[in-house]
């Protein structure tokens, strides 16, 4: 029995268990949710310690036949296949350890329908973990959709004033992406007669180039919406702003990473040829996203919306690094996924703590908060520095590797990306100054209580990780070494092949799909 099955389904079992608890006993519900998520976190740490980063292939594999579908030439077996490799390990562990923090953070603002909240939260965790662990296309899609529904309810029920608008927007956006992906996925399964991810990797070249192209973009669209990549980002600011704090933390911490993970797994690993051909599209979108998101953030008057817009900018770095298709670029991008989860998660926690005290998020309602909440100010400044990429903290390592990797591939877009280093400091420090510094002009803020032990306890583990990644990133980079090294080499090979193919007159794309007829009917 693989550990991965436990990790994926324990939250689901927990959700079912909590569904049977009395809805009025909030305390018990919170303890139960914390218990389940902590148990999963412990499993996540076990997984971490038993994971060998030097191996490229998935580990802890778990495969069972699920069902078969008659599609085209024969029955395609759909399997319940889980596994973890260097592409997914960081995100899996991040998801497991972030969840107890999310549960604890909900104490301040989830006061009604507590039971439902935790049920949805745990279903969502199962969905997200499933997404990262699935090694079968159909299973992946199943989890992808499972993770979508709970957030709809979390924002829709416990959100802010414009929550309905935000949820519908979010839902329609992602459903649109999912459906396009579904079409592409069916076409892929049909074309290669397999739904097994590890089998499909390396075989997509058998499809005609035109088919590869549109399938690649059908996947890419769904993930681009999820990330979100410019210009599909407008759902994010609304969803973030309206979501309760815990929802925002989860959204920024993990859910958006499903998009970047998807781009890496299904964009680059599954279609390396397409990734090489169209990398410039994503480099442009990533680099522009960095600048565009920063400009958006600069113009915001709502602190939470500012943080949401900063996500667009920060995830632009991740997209840039991924599609630089160089080893430092990809490895930096994968690390940066975690970094963004930590820094932006912390920022949302901080915004939430302030909102719970002042019931406002407007920057002009603050000022001088550091005077009354000195401990809060320390965490705030720390987080801002982590987010702004100060060396010694997590953000710098990721950003530097991404930019160095991008520079190898395209100095121009690296140069555009570097401006994000400047603009990032602009909006983050502007927000810091307007919230923390200056005189305490608003009387309502004069009696604010500083953060309490629970709030410190929530943030401290994340801060420790920020420092750890900043000082000793190898702990985390080592885990991704085998898989990402192999991936980078494969993409490099693909690039060389393509260049050679172009050099001798584009002869390589002669319908190779018929040659493997026998294998396809397996």
């Amino acid at each position: 029995m693989s550990m991965l099955v436990w990790i994926t389904f324990l939250p689901l079992l927990g959700a079912i268990g909590i569904a049977f608890l009395p809805a009025t006993n909030t305390r018990l519900l919170r303890q139960a949710a914390l218990g389940v998520t902590s148990l999963v976190a412990v499993l996540g740490l076990f997984l971490w310690s038993s994971f060998d980063g030097s191996i490229a292939e998935p580990q802890h594999g778990f495969v069972r036949d699920w069902f078969t579908v008659a599609l085209g030439a024969g029955d395609v077996p759909i399997r319940f296949a889980l596994g973890v490799d260097g592409i997914s390990i960081l995100l899996v562990v991040l998801t497991t350890i972030l969840m107890p923090i999310v549960v604890l953070s909900s104490h301040g603002h989830i006061e009604h329908r507590v039971k439902e909240f935790f049920v949805w939260l745990l279903v969502m965790q199962a969905g997200m973990l499933g997404v990262f662990l699935s090694l079968d296309l159909v299973l992946f899609y199943f989890f992808w959709e499972v993770s979508l529904v709970p957030l709809y309810f979390i924002v829709g029920i416990w959100g802010g004033e414009r929550r309905l608008y935000a949820t519908i927007k979010f839902f329609l956006y992602t459903v649109a992406g999912s459906l396009v992906m579904l079409v592409g996925m069916i076409a892929l399964i049909y074309g290669l007669q397999s739904s097994d991810l590890m089998d499909l990797i390396g075989r997509t070249g058998e499809l005609p180039v035109a088919t590869q192209t549109w399938i690649f973009f059908s996947f890419a669209l769904a993930f681009a919406i999820k990330v979100p990549v410019l210009p599909f980002h407008t759902w994010l600011a609304d969803a973030h702003t309206e979501a309760p704090t815990s929802g925002s933390v989860l959204l920024a911490g993990v859910l958006l990473k499903m998009g970047t993970y998807g781009l890496l797994r299904f964009g680059i690993q599954l279609f390396p040829g397409m990734a090489v051909s169209y990398s410039s599209v994503f480099l442009v979108l990533g680099a522009l996203g960095i600048v565009y998101g920063a400009f958006l953030a600069m113009a915001q008057t709502d602190l939470k919306r500012l943080v949401a817009c900063s996500s667009v900018s920060h995830l632009g770095f991740v997209v840039l690094g991924l599609f630089a298709l160089t080893e430092p670029g990809i490895r930096g991008a994968v690390l940066q996924m975690v970094n963004h989860g930590l820094s932006t998660g912390l920022l949302f926690l901080l915004v939430g703590m302030l909102y719970e005290r002042t019931h406002t998020r407007m920057l002009d309602r603050f000022g001088g908060i550091a005077t009354v909440m000195p401990l809060y100010a320390i965490f705030f400044v720390f987080t801002v520095l982590s987010s702004a990429g100060l060396p010694g903290l997590n953000g710098f390592v990721g950003e530097y590797m991404i930019l160095a990797g991008t520079f190898e591939a395209s100095p121009l877009w690296a140069a555009v990306g570097v401006t994000g280093v400047i603009f990032g400091a602009v909006y983050l420090l502007m927000a810091t100054r307007r919230v923390l510094f200056g005189a305490l002009v608003h009387d309502a803020n004069k009696k604010l209580a500083d953060i309490n032990a629970r709030e410190i306890g929530i943030m401290l583990p994340l801060c420790v990780l920020c420092i750890w990644i900043g000082v000793q990133p190898n702990t985390f980079l080592d885990k991704t070494a085998g898989s990402l090294d192999a991936l980078a080499k494969r993409v490099e090979q693909e690039r060389i092949d393509q260049e050679r193919g172009q050099a001798i007159g584009r002869i390589e794309f002669d319908a190779p799909s018929a040659t493997t007829e026998g294998e396809e009917s397996r």
Partner: protein, 660 residues
């Protein structure tokens, strides 16, 4: 580097990490202070303890630096620590280690030596401030970062320190954040520096491309092999890294943050914005001297930027009323001299001026702090005057510092500035024009320095004797002043001109570090020309004459009070206004860069994002919503159930596997 002369010494790590430990302890003490303040207890003992911890940490670091120095004197070329494997990602790896060589040893002595004096001074200056412990935590953190900067063997390690000092500068400029404008000044400093940092990062990527490493000595050693093939790339990398130096060392066009940075407590201005941090750009160029030697066009750019900055800074300082603003623009100007020196390949001269400047400008800032302290936080020189009677120790030391800054004969600043100007003169060609600009700036320097002395310490007392009672500062503040005054006066012996006995000590000391750069300069025909003894004497005489004449003019015009300024303002209001506002460069930036960017951000957010992109989305959305509303009753319930049943089914499936 010859390994036989290198000893491996991991205790070198203690040099930066003792101050880091001090910073952490002071930070913990600050938290304890906050706790006790909440409980209403006495916080003074905790605050005082933090001050002693901080001073102790720097003193210990200074001790290790001095003992390591003696190892170097014993003949070792450098002391290296073991390597810390920081980032290791296959083809991309960065290891950090500390190297104590002849260049970093000089920097370390300045940082810990002057740093210790400023720490002790701060014990007096910051006494009674509620953030006393926090102040020392930041100050120690700064020293840690600065030592990392100068000790790192790798450009990325240097960058860690580079950003660390920037952070501390930000925190310390905005130390009195309740007032608002210090926080804005800190923010400005950070952001302007980030512009330089972006250039720095791009430069580092180019170095990776050129040399495949960021190890500073490896880069230096490989320049000669690469320069023939990629002269353009080398020049671009050098230029971009110089862009980073412009930010940190406040050179045109990125100098505008430094005058604002005076919002911080005065010891901070002395330590960070005069003696150490702002010289990081000069250190960077010195460290990469082979790279710059291989890029003569960039060297010329550096010369122009340095001379121009020296001129802008000096001319702006002339009409300032705020004593700290005079010193700030003076610092900008003096840093320009150092870059001018570097541009001629006079590496040792630049370092020499860096060291003497740390003495005399640190002294002047601390002296101004003593004045401000004694005048109840007054910084406007128009409201001072006649203070020499009230604070004699501050007065005498301040005069010593002013003599050095204005380059009066035989003072430390006289020799160091003269050497730079002599080298510019000797380089010939365009550098002669730069020499003339430097000479003009030197004249202005003498003028504004003695104007400052006259306005502050001489003439009538222009303050209200009813409310202001000037007093001498305590010994914790005046003793550091006296020690620095000795160095400011006699520091010139470090590197006397060739015509004097015992000449060029620093020059010879630095030779192993600059050997490669000198070789490259020699091979490309850009090596330094030596002046004849006669011309050197002439230049020394010219320098003395200019300093004395203009020092006299400045002093004489202002001993009687502020009338000279009023006259100038009445006669040439445009010119004075132009100079007062630093050539209106900062306001031009606000108008031409900051506001357009803010406008662009507003337009992006409101027009592009809300109307164009989101408008399109909502158009599609409203169609879908109307559809959804018709199906609402049906869909809403079933999605929920669907998901729940799906989850339950999957869980059951998993359960069956677990049981089987």
């Amino acid at each position: 580097m010859d390994t036989s002369t290198v000893s491996l010494a991991n205790e070198l790590w203690f040099v930066p990490f003792l101050p880091l430990l001090g910073a952490l302890l002071c930070g913990a003490l600050h938290l304890a202070v906050l706790r006790r303040r909440k409980a209403g207890g006495a916080e003074a003992p905790l605050q005082a303890l933090a001050g002693y911890v901080a001073c102790g940490a720097i003193a210990l670091a200074l001790g290790i630096v001095v003992s390591s120095w003696s190892t170097l004197l014993g003949g070792a070329e450098a002391i290296e620590s073991g390597t810390w494997n920081w980032i290791d990602a296959g083809s991309f790896d960065i290891g950090l280690s500390m190297v104590f060589d002849r260049l970093s040893s000089v920097m370390c002595l300045v940082i810990t030596g002057v740093g210790l004096l400023i720490h002790i001074y701060s014990l007096g200056y910051m006494k009674g401030d509620p953030g006393f412990a926090k102040f020392f935590a930041y100050l120690n953190l700064f020293v840690f970062a600065m030592l990392m900067l100068v000790l790192s063997s790798n450009l990325m390690g240097l960058f860690v320190g580079w950003e660390g000092v920037g952070l501390c500068s930000y925190l310390l400029i905005g130390f009195w954040y309740e007032k608002g404008w210090p926080a804005e000044a800190g923010q400005k400093a950070f952001i302007v520096n980030r512009i330089g940092d972006a250039c720095f990062l791009l430069g580092s990527f180019l170095l990776i491309r050129l040399f495949g490493t960021l190890d500073l000595s490896d880069v230096g050693a490989s320049v000669q092999a690469v320069m023939g093939e990629h002269p353009g790339t080398i020049a671009l990398a050098a230029l971009l890294l110089f862009g980073g130096a412009c930010g940190k060392s406040a050179q045109f066009p990125l100098f505008t943050w430094l005058p604002d940075a005076m919002a911080g407590p005065t010891p901070v201005s002395a330590l960070i914005h005069a003696a150490t941090m702002v010289t990081a750009g000069i250190y960077l160029l010195l460290r990469l001297n082979p790279l710059y030697a291989a890029a003569p066009s960039v060297m010329l750019v550096i010369g122009f930027v340095g001379a121009l900055t020296a001129f802008i800074g000096a001319s702006t300082a002339i009409f300032q009323r705020d004593i700290k603003k005079v010193l700030a623009y003076s610092t900008v100007s003096q840093l320009g001299y150092m870059f001018l020196g570097l541009s001629t390949g006079a590496w040792a001269a630049a370092l020499f001026h860096l060291v003497t400047h740390a003495f005399f400008k640190g002294l002047l800032f601390l002296g101004s702090g003593s004045v401000i302290h004694g005048m109840h936080e007054e910084q406007d020189m128009y409201k001072m005057g006649g203070l020499r009677r009230h604070m004699p120790r501050t007065f005498i030391t301040f005069v010593a510092g002013s003599a050095a800054l204005s380059g009066l004969p035989l003072m430390s600043g006289f020799f160091s500035k003269d050497e730079i100007l002599a080298m510019a003169f000797a380089s010939g060609g365009l550098h002669v024009a730069l020499w003339l600009v430097g000479l003009a700036a030197a004249a202005m320097t003498a003028f504004y320095t003695w104007r400052m002395v006259a306005l502050t310490f001489f003439g009538k007392e222009r303050f209200d004797p009813e409310h202001v009672h000037p007093h001498e500062s305590p010994a914790t503040m005046t003793v550091p002043l006296m020690i620095l005054a000795v160095f400011a006066v006699f520091g010139g012996v470090l590197n006397l001109p060739a015509v004097l006995p015992g000449a060029g000590m620093l020059h010879h000391w630095l030779e192993p570090v600059t050997k490669l750069g000198d070789e490259i300069l020699h091979s490309t025909g850009h090596e330094l020309h030596h002046l004849s003894a006669l011309s050197e004497w002439c230049l020394l005489g010219l320098g003395s004459l200019i300093a004395l004449v203009f020092a006299h003019k400045g002093f004489h015009a202002y001993t009687s009070g502020t009338e000279a300024d009023a006259r100038a303002r009445a006669e040439r209001p445009d010119a004075v206004g132009f100079l007062e506002e630093a050539w209106r460069i900062d306001s031009t930036y606000t108008r031409r860069i900051v506001r357009p960017i803010k406008l662009a951000a507003f337009l992006v957010a409101s027009v592009v994002d809300q109307l164009a992109i989101d408008g399109a989305v909502n158009g599609a959305g409203s169609f879908a919503t109307s559809l959804a509303q018709r199906l609402r009753g049906l869909v809403d319930g079933s999605v929920k159930n669907y998901a729940l049943w799906m989850g339950a089914g999957a869980a059951a499936l998993a359960l069956s596997w677990i049981l089987i």
